[in-house]
């Protein structure tokens, strides 16, 4: 089933940036489109407009062959008729209902028998056995998230909308659930649109990333492409990570993980299992360049390579290096002159293990 979502909307808020977002993208069976951007960039307004909870002054929203909104011809499809699963920030579980009651809430159209069957199915899928009769306030953050997701998918929606699905959780839970959410989404085989301000979530969850800034969608593409090849300085600044390469974990000891990227190895902090595929992410500011052949430092990673390209960025220069994989470093003009850097110069890139971020990816 090939489906497409096409959004072209304008919404103004008094005293704030006007939201003016255009995006259209084919959503395959399990495609996750991530709307990524800093807070205040308009992500939530866009997803709420798709849900039908916010009415843009102008524009159109189409999903597959249906028009949900067309201000010119006055089409306004209500949220009830859009067949979506929506999970708001902080989940909004219904406090007077049990876990079961929450999941069954949207299943009024089913007969009592079918409803019971569907609830049982979801309780199993989302590992909520034993919690069926619990009230929302008795659940942990992670459990609440699973209930909210189960409730959203129970009526078999055509599209899943998740607004900051992980930000209500504490950090350790968030890291753990990031991967879990990804595999759940794949299992559900539902197209989804996910809002997040966290670039690690964007990388893990997204098949496609749409970068938002100042109320506009600036760039759309596969996550790795958007992160490593930002269209302009604005996108680069929002994304903030210049190097994203694919690697595999080959060793793991004492919180230190060794990853292999095209024959080069790097050490980073993490607890990913051996053999698991990861994105290796390094910010350009965290890369130190030194002359080839100088001494040992405390940093774990010393990578020999060659300068490919130098681009000035204000008082800084951005240096692209080939050290088995493409690496981007940001140094000052003074440092560039001292090191006599020009395309082709041999160089050693030094990166502390703490600056190597590992983000799980799916194959």
């Amino acid at each position: 089933m090939a489906a497409e979502i096409a959004i072209n909307i304008t919404k103004t808020f008094p005293g704030r940036t006007t939201i003016s977002a255009q995006v259209s993208y084919p959503l395959q069976q399990a495609t996750a489109l991530v709307l990524f951007g800093p807070s205040g960039s308009g992500k939530t307004t866009v997803i709420r407009s798709i849900a039908g909870l916010e009415w843009p002054e102008q524009g159109t929203i189409r999903f597959i062959s249906r028009t949900w909104l067309d201000t010119r011809s006055g089409i306004r499809v209500s949220p009830q008729e859009r067949q979506i699963g929506y999970m708001p920030q902080e989940y909004a579980l219904f406090p007077t209902y049990t876990v079961k009651g929450n999941i069954a809430y949207g299943l009024d159209a089913l007969s009592a028998v079918d409803r019971k069957k569907r609830v049982e199915e979801l309780v199993d899928l989302f590992q909520l056995r034993g919690l069926e009769e619990a009230k929302p306030h008795e659940l942990s953050g992670g459990q609440q998230q699973r209930v909210a997701l189960a409730r959203a998918v129970a009526p078999r929606p055509q599209l899943l909308l998740l607004d900051e699905p992980l930000s209500a959780l504490d950090l350790p839970t968030r890291l753990q659930l990031r991967g879990e959410l990804r595999s759940l989404l794949k299992q559900l085989a539902l197209p989804s649109i996910i809002v997040t301000h966290d670039w690690t979530e964007a990388l893990t969850l997204g098949d496609v990333v749409a970068v938002m800034g100042n109320g506009q969608i600036l760039q759309v593409g596969p996550p790795q492409e958007v992160f490593t090849r930002p269209r302009d300085a604005e996108v680069a600044q929002i994304v903030g990570v210049e190097t994203v390469v694919e690697g595999h974990v080959i060793e793991k000891a004492y919180g230190l993980v060794t990853v292999r990227i095209n024959g080069t190895t790097l050490q980073g902090l993490g607890s990913d299992d051996i053999g698991s595929p990861v994105f290796v992410c390094i910010r350009a500011e965290d890369v130190v360049l030194e002359e080839a052949g100088s001494g040992t430092t405390s940093a774990r990673n010393h990578l020999g390579g060659k300068v490919i390209d130098i681009t000035p960025h204000g008082v800084m220069v951005q240096v692209k290096i080939d050290c088995g994989f493409p690496l981007v470093a940001m140094i000052t003009r003074g440092a560039q002159e001292e090191l006599h850097l020009e395309p082709g110069s041999p160089i050693v890139a030094v990166i502390k293990a703490g600056a190597v971020h590992l983000v799980p990816r799916s194959v």
């Binding site: 849900a51 039908g52 909870l53 209500s78 949220p79 009830q80 008729e81 859009r82 067949q83 979506i84 699963g85 929506y86 708001p88 920030q89 902080e90 909004a92 219904f94 406090p95 007077t96 809430y105 949207g106 009024d108 159209a109 306030h137 409730r151 959203a152 009526p155 909308l161």
Partner: protein
């Protein structure tokens, strides 16, 4: 009961409407709070009297005039006690998180169904308060009743008017009895509301 049926939609509308002139209706609903009961009673009497369109329509349909009848009294009581029902309702609705309501909509539930399945159970405390408070207030009202209902034994004589009559007749013992009865009833009702509200909050800690 009648008040509950009329008060709920008004409170819902007051809470969720984005209409800019909403405050006009809000103040009209609250008007009986500040207006002397005799003023309100006078206007109601004129409004439902045989010379007004409403009064004529009613007597044409039912074949009986509104003033000085039980139905007329009911109508007046509804208007007069409206703020006591609507305001607790509206406050309770306002405290329901918008996000819950919106989520309910996306799950395919109409606004009406959302109201019964979600908003009502979440505002039980406010609903009970409003219902009981307006009932108690209706029980004790005087001015409006006297104006609209007259004072017809067995038809439109209310408890508070009864006390007034007894005092006029210098029957202090009878008045004291009825007054004590009213005092006890009112106090027990308030006692019940406050006790119940406390329990409700303890069972469902909000947020």
């Amino acid at each position: 009961m009648a008040l509950l049926l009329i008060g709920l939609p008004i409170a819902y509308w007051l809470t969720f409407s984005k209409w800019r002139w909403k405050f006009l209706i809000e103040s009209i609903v609250a008007l009986p709070l500040v207006l002397p009961p005799t003023v309100l009673g006078f206007y109601i009497l004129v409004a439902i009297g045989p010379h007004s369109p409403i009064g004529r329509l009613y007597s044409d349909v039912v074949g009986q005039a509104l003033p000085f009848s039980f139905q007329g009294l009911l109508f007046a009581s509804i208007l007069y006690s409206m703020p006591f029902a609507v305001q607790p309702f509206a406050t309770a609705f306002e405290q329901v998180d918008r996000k819950l309501i919106e989520t309910s909509w996306t799950l395919g539930l109409s606004k009406l169904k959302t109201f019964f399945k979600l908003i009502m159970p979440l505002s039980t405390a406010g609903l009970i308060t409003g219902a009981v408070l307006s009932f108690a207030h209706t029980l004790g009202e005087f001015g409006v009743v006297l104006m609209v209902g007259g004072n017809i034994e067995g038809v439109t004589r209310t408890v508070s008017i009864d006390i007034y009559d007894e005092v006029q007749a210098l029957n202090y013992a009878g008045a004291a009895q009825t007054a004590l009865f009213l005092l006890i009833v009112s106090y027990s009702i308030l006692l019940l509301i406050y006790a119940m509200n406390r329990k409700v909050w303890a069972v469902w800690p909000q947020k």
